[in-house]
Amino acid sequence: MFAIVDCNNFYASCERLFQPKLEHQPIVVLSNNDGCVIARSNEAKALGIKMGAPAFEIQTLLEQHQVAVFSSNYALYGDISHRVMQVLGRFTPAIEIYSIDEAFLDVAQLAFTDLETYASTMRTTVLQQVGIPTTIGIAASKTLAKAANRYAKKACKTTGVFVMDTEAKRQEVLEALPVEDVWGIGRKYQVWLDAHNIKTAWQLSNTNLAWIQKKMGVVGLRLVKELQGIACYDLEEQPAAKQGIMTSRSFGNLISEKKLLQEAIATHATRCAEKLRKQHSCCALLQVFIHTNAYRKQDAQYHGVLSIPIPTATDSTSELIQLAMSALDHIYKPGFLYKKAGVYVSEIVPRSQVQLSLFSSKDRGKEQQLLEAMDKINTLMGRDKVRYAAAGISRKWKLRQEKKSPCYTTNVNELLRIKN
């Protein structure tokens, strides 16, 4: 049996945590650059605010109903998420952190425990110790647990827990679940299934397996089996090492100056290198891209991208910055207003298995020490305390975050003040 614990309206709940006056008030959180709505409290949902709605389009609605609007504050959400996961970890070691606000737990070994009570205790503990409301779905497979969780959000609002432990309950849940809301069914498959008159998860779980396999392959087959209550996916307690790492941001304002683009690219390259080192790997391919804002029809459009193979796979910040800068030299064209820039590294190999090159004989021993020291300082004293000058100081290109809440739990200068 699998349980999935899902934090309700997670970003909105995090914002509410430190401003209790917002209890029962509508809240929305906006995406990077304060663009679109990416999280809504129940009250905001009731006002008819859609997920992904552009902020400027619903401006009047937001003002009219005095909706509390926040820029996204990932430092805060990340920290609160970590606290939630820690509390869950005390209940069982068999936990897979699936996303920032969801975790799968393997509850199969709790054969003699009443799962309903168990889940309920977990829920109240998280609420009491962290302050985040959650919903828990329990079923025989991960896909069914997801469905049970969805069902609980609608049908068991007061308890917040649904245990799918009988065949009748499975049918009840799946019949109420539109096929496009099944975990793993995307837009394309939905259209195809719809054309074959499969509209609910229940219908999907009763289709011919050979037919599904022909169209959707083994992944589709697993999906249907999971819906039938046969677990095909295990808990992934160790996250798989990343196959590619992307760092990119839209700029707060459009940029045409090369120097600012260089700073942004250098910063992204730095982040990629940090992430590589964190998972003890190196990359052998680096890609840089820049592009203009395709929505601004009045501007000339340009999309530049270049991949550079790296002779000897690396995790070195300076090497990646150097390569990224030379890539930018090739793709940069003056006279355009750039909206976004990014760096993507791939062909990732473990650091202990790097193929050496015949034609580049760089001794990396010393640099390794330097990077380790930098990482240590930045971990202890805060991100970017020591950094490469190429990444710039002014950061004129950085995100627009006009309504960002303080980092209550991760920055000592932004602690909550009870009394001035």
């Binding site: 798989a240 090492a241 550079i308 193979p309 002779p311 062909e347 990732i348 190999v349 473990p350 650091r351 202990s352 298995q353 790097v354 193929q355 050496l356 090159s357 015949l358 034609f359 390794q368």
Partner: protein, 373 residues
């Protein structure tokens, strides 16, 4: 124009040059063979703009002269499905129609104008030398596998022909490994060098007969021309400087490991199944006269280990290589035994066959992977 030719003879000749034609061509005329009839001699040509191959054959009977481009796929498919027999080609060069008639049937297709077919590069200012077919095939076999696919470093995407008065060095590298194959039975007029792309070499390897027939190789600054009595090929050279490869060949690798080639290869094949799929890392642990080969894939908790006997003179050492690259190299060496010369775990290892062939010398270099940094 009209001619009669035996179907199997025509098919064999077309297949010899057909490999040049790309599957996705920019111009429709590049999907064609150029047929040229003069007297009883039929000349067939195929090209992809970079490489051009031409072959000549005698037809059984002919009438008139002329040139036309004929779509390659349809004519090959037809000939492949025809039992051996004489077929008559009747070509109307005005309306570009071709009629092929056999004992049992008549087939009509449309061709294209011969004048649209790309011209052969002109062989100006060439120098030349000769080499036996088998010699060239051996050279290609020994080097082509180590050529790089990295188009950002074009020089490495071909085989370097380094000409000296005492012989030729054929060199290829992908920056991780390097092969230098030397033939001393060739005399070149002067010291020179050029880089030949992969495709024409592949084509030569599959077309040439492995015999002692002599080939004439002529080159200028932009092209290579290879000819024998019946066949000729021209190709554009890679316009880039080959890296200074001699500087990376270690001159002093003091430790020498001697292995039984097939035994080592089978062990390597087995162990590498358990290696990390991206890096293919296997670790050679050499102590005394014992070699341990091991691999692990942490993501899947796979582990493999094998020991085999060897002859070793040198300090005990642990060095890691990419098993896939190493297998390819050892597989391309001949003889029962190979030597692996080593110095440190971060410097290139040199593979050489224990037995040397006549008029040839081969050396292969492989860079290790970092172990446990």
């Amino acid at each position: 124009m009209r001619f009669i030719v035996t179907s199997s003879v025509l098919l064999k000749n077309l297949q010899q040059i057909g490999g040049v034609i790309s599957s996705n061509t920019v111009l429709s005329v590049l999907e064609d063979f150029l047929f040229e009839l003069k007297g009883n001699t039929l000349t067939l040509t195929a090209t992809d703009l970079e490489t051009m191959m031409r072959v000549q054959l005698e037809v059984n009977e002919s009438e008139g002269e002329g040139r036309i481009c004929i779509p390659s796929k349809i004519v090959l498919d037809y000939l492949k499905n025809l039992p051996e027999q004489p077929i008559t080609f009747s070509v109307n060069t005005n309306d570009l129609t071709i009629e092929m008639s056999s004992d049992v049937g008549k087939y009509k297709i449309g061709g294209e104008k011969a004048d649209d077919f790309p011209k052969e590069p002109i062989a100006n200012d060439t120098s030349s030398f000769t080499i036996s077919s088998i010699g060239l095939i051996e050279s290609i076999n020994n080097t082509l596998f180590a050529v790089s696919n990295d188009t950002l470093r074009p020089a490495m995407t071909g085989v370097y022909f380094e000409l000296t008065k005492t012989g030729i060095n054929f060199v290829s590298t992908d920056a991780h490994r390097l092969v230098q194959y030397r033939r001393t039975d060739v005399v070149c007029p002067n010291d020179n060098g050029f880089v030949v792309p992969k495709k024409p070499l592949q084509q030569l390897r599959s077309t040439l007969a492995a015999d002692e027939t002599m080939l004439k190789l002529s080159y200028n600054s932009s092209h290579l021309f290879v000819t024998n009595e019946k066949l000729s090929m021209s190709c554009r050279l890679i316009d880039a400087r080959f890296p200074d490869y001699k500087a990376v060949i270690p001159t002093d690798n003091p430790f020498k490991l001697t292995l039984t080639r097939t035994e080592f290869m089978s062990a390597l094949r087995r162990v590498s199944i358990f290696a990390n799929k991206t890096t293919n890392q296997v670790v050679l642990d050499i102590a005394g006269n014992k070699l341990q080969i091991s691999a692990q894939d942490i993501d899947f908790s796979y582990e493999g280990k094998e020991s085999l006997g060897c002859q070793y003179s040198g300090e005990d050492m642990k060095i890691a290589f990419n098993a896939k690259l190493m297998l390819e190299m050892v597989n391309n060496l001949s003889g029962d035994h190979v030597n692996l010369e080593l110095s440190t775990p971060t410097r290139a290892g040199i593979f050489k066959p224990v037995d040397k062939g006549d008029n040839e010398e081969i050396l292969m270099l492989l860079m290790p992977l970092m172990v446990g940094v």
